[in-house]
């Protein structure tokens, strides 16, 4: 009957493990992310930078700008520069369609529209679950990455990206 006892012991352990309440992660360590797709790759930005999302429509190209500045759009009376991350990250180009969306992001002193292929949605991830950027992922993007989570979602560090002087067109031209 020892086998029966040992078996009963195992079952008891298993029930205890299943009945345990999962540990609540620390709230301050949680990141609120807006996930989107760029050329089959999944990216995300923190929602604290995002003001809103709009369908990409009525682009007016701007001559004399770098390739990653696609042009400007009129969003409810505001003129917004459209920034193409695919050009910036040298991702494969698939053309612009109406299905693209514009993610309006804000940093102090700068408002910009990011062009996204598909906006997936808002999700929360643990800040600790982010792994450092994989060297195979993309060499260019490494300095703007916050990390990659288990689902291979690349979380961009918008503070660093938008602070990059390369994107400041006016400054460079003047």
């Amino acid at each position: 009957m020892s086998a029966t006892d040992s078996g009963r012991q195992v079952l008891r352990e298993r029930a205890r493990a299943l009945a345990r309440v999962p540990e609540e992660p620390a709230s301050h360590q949680r990141l609120e992310l807006l996930e989107f797709r760029l050329a089959q790759e999944r990216y995300a930005v923190e929602t604290r930078h995002v003001s809103d999302v709009h369908p990409f429509r009525d682009l007016t190209p701007l001559p004399g700008t770098p390739a990653f500045i696609r042009g400007v759009v009129n969003l409810r009376g505001r003129l917004l520069a459209v920034f193409d991350l695919k050009k910036f990250f040298a991702l494969p180009e698939q053309g612009i369609t109406d299905l693209h969306s514009i993610i309006v992001v804000n940093t102090p002193g700068l408002e910009l529209g990011l062009l996204a292929d598909v906006v997936v949605g808002v999700r929360q991830v643990d800040a600790g679950s982010l792994a450092p950027a994989l060297p195979t992922l993309s060499d260019i993007a490494a300095e703007y990455l916050k990390g990659v989570n288990a689902e291979r979602v690349v979380v961009l560090d918008l503070d660093r990206l938008l602070a990059d002087p390369r994107i400041l067109v006016n400054h460079q031209s003047t």
């Binding site: 807006l34 929602t47 604290r48 369908p55 949605g121 808002v122």
Partner: protein, 575 residues
């Protein structure tokens, strides 16, 4: 004196004829006297009429003259003058009429001055009236001289009339006398003549008809072949006697002829006969007959000999002929059987031809039905085409509507995308709100899920729509192909219709030809019937030929026997 029959007849009838001539002369004389009397009577009547006319004329002249005397009008004068002229005329005629009678002639001469005196007095009175008045004339008339002259004249005329009346009476009496004498002569003469003629006729009849009756009886007996008669009338020298002698000579001659004929009848042709005269027809005929008979019997003898041998040959030939006829009959019988077989074959052919003709007629009907079916299928094809066109139009509408649906779906997709973005925006806003926005974040997540479901639904609809569009396109293609197939079918049907028309024409011609063949076959059958009938007739004729040949054979044998008998008969004659 010898009295022959002619003299007797002449005497009897001559006497009667003479009496009739006398009677005729007497009648003629009497008639002539009568007509003379009648002429004299007419003359006397004429004289009396003239006297009356004279009297009347005198009276009329007087009357007309008196009219003038009374009236003194000229219109009475013309009749008066006419009456005076008439008086003169009558007077001259009277004188002319009575010139054959002396007494009357004298009286007429006396009448002349009296008349002249009367006319003169009348004229005188007229003169008196013309010159003086009526009283003077009245005095003349009262004097009465005119009246006295008038009375005298009247008496003279009356006397003459009485004289004529008396003459008339005398003549009538004489005429009656003459008439009676003539009647007596005619009646008596006629009676005497009748008597004489009767007596003469009776005597001549007695003398002539008796002997003639005897001779007639003898002639009758000779006519029936009795040559032993003799006529005895005694010694008569007139024509009857001569006739009796001639009869006797005739019977003698006939008897000699009969004797010769009996010899010939007995077969003795050596008898000779002398004709009585050159005109002896019977004698000459007998001589000629004997000569001819001799020649003929000789010829017959030779002929009988030839006939006998010929009859033998004929018998042989007819035997062969009979055998040949039998063979020919057998052959004809076989031919008849063959012809009958051919006829049955022809009948079969005729029936087959009729069946073919019927079949051809049915074919014509079937082809007519086929033509109608072709027309029906053409109409059906036209209906199918119109329906195909309707289907095509429906398909086009369906395609257009599908496109409209696609546009709607695009709109819905757009809406779903916008909803998605709105849900994302809501989630962002909820995240910004922190703890308080959590419920709103759940709602935003639900909205996003709904938007996602809408998008998936629209994807499915789009896929379905794509299928529908493919199916529609396929259906349109199929419709077009169907339309083309219908066109092709239509053409095929038209071709089939033309073929069926041609077939119908051919069937018609075939039917006509079959009908003609049937008719020809029928005619052939009729002809074969006739041939069979003819062969049957030939067969009968052949059978009759065989029978005839047999009869002919028998007849030839009989002929042969006859020839033998004839030879025997001819041999009994002695030439």
């Amino acid at each position: 004196m010898k009295w022959n029959v002619g003299s007797k007849l002449g005497l009897g009838f001559g006497a009667a004829l003479a009496i009739f001539v006398l009677v005729g002369i007497a009648s003629w004389q009497s008639t002539r006297a009568q007509s003379e009397e009648a002429r004299l009577v007419a003359h006397t009547h004429d004289v009396i009429a003239t006297l009356a006319g004279l009297d009347s004329a005198v009276r009329r002249a007087e009357s007309e003259q008196r009219g003038y005397l009374i009236t003194a009008e000229e219109r009475y004068l013309r009749p008066y003058e006419a009456a005076v002229a008439e008086i003169n005329t009558y007077r001259l005629r009277l004188v002319d009429l009575v010139s054959d009678n002396p007494r009357q002639s004298a009286r007429a001469q006396e009448l002349g001055p009296a008349l002249a005196d009367r006319v003169a007095r009348l004229a005188e009175s007229l003169e008196v009236r013309r010159r003086q008045d009526f009283q003077a004339v009245q005095a003349v008339i009262i004097a009465g001289q005119g009246k006295a002259a008038m009375d005298k004249l009247h008496d003279q005329i009356e006397t003459m009339a009485q004289e004529e009346e008396r003459l008339l009476e005398t003549r009538a009496v004489a005429s009656a006398e003459a008439m009676r004498a003539a009647n007596q002569t005619v009646i008596g003469g006629t009676l005497i003549a009748l008597l004489v003629a009767g007596v003469a006729g009776f005597a001549i009849t007695r003398n002539v008809s008796g002997p003639l009756r005897k001779l007639t009886a003898a002639a009758d007996r000779i006519a029936v072949g009795d040559l032993g008669v003799s006529v005895d009338l005694g010694e008569r020298s007139d024509e009857i006697g001569l006739l009796a002698q001639a009869f006797t000579r005739m019977t003698r001659s006939l008897r000699s002829m009969a004797g010769v004929a009996e010899l010939i009848a007995a077969g003795d042709l050596r008898a000779s006969l002398q004709p009585q005269s050159a005109e002896d027809a019977l004698g000459h005929a007998f001589v000629k007959m004997i000569a001819n008979l001799r020649a003929q019997i000789g010829g017959m003898l030779e002929g009988a000999t030839v006939l006998g041998s010929a009859a033998s040959e004929i018998v042989a030939s007819t035997t062969q002929l009979a055998a040949g006829a039998s063979e020919s009959a057998a052959a004809v019988s076989q031919t008849t059987t063959t012809v009958e077989e051919i006829r049955q074959t022809a009948q079969l052919a005729s029936q087959k031809a009729r069946a073919v003709s019927d079949t051809a007629q049915k074919t014509v009907q079937v082809s007519a039905t086929g033509r109608k079916s072709t027309e029906d299928s053409l109409a059906g094809m036209a209906r199918i085409r119109s329906q195909m066109e309707a289907i095509g139009a429906s398909m086009m509408r369906l395609s257009e509507q599908t496109q409209a649906i696609g546009q709607i779906i695009a709109s819905v997709e757009d809406l779903a995308a916008q909803s998605n973005l709105l849900a994302v925006n809501a989630a962002i806003e909820a995240a910004k709100a922190g703890e308080h926005g959590k419920g709103f974040g759940v709602v935003a997540q639900e909205v996003k899920t709904l938007a996602e479901q809408s998008r998936q639904a629209t994807d499915r609809v789009r896929a379905l729509l794509g299928d529908i569009q493919k199916a529609t396109t396929a259906a349109v293609m199929a419709t077009e192909q169907g339309s083309k197939a219908v066109d092709a079918g239509n053409r095929q049907t038209e071709v089939a219709g033309e073929s069926i028309l041609a077939l119908a024409g051919s069937a018609n011609e075939a039917a006509l030809a079959a009908t003609q063949i049937a008719a020809s076959s029928q005619q052939q059958l009729v002809g074969m019937d006739q041939v069979a009938g003819a062969m049957e007739s030939i067969k009968q004729a052949s059978t009759q030929n065989v029978a005839s040949a047999r009869q002919l054979e028998t007849a030839a044998r009989n002929l042969n026997d006859l020839g033998q008998r004839l030879k025997g008969l001819v041999a009994s004659y002695s030439i």
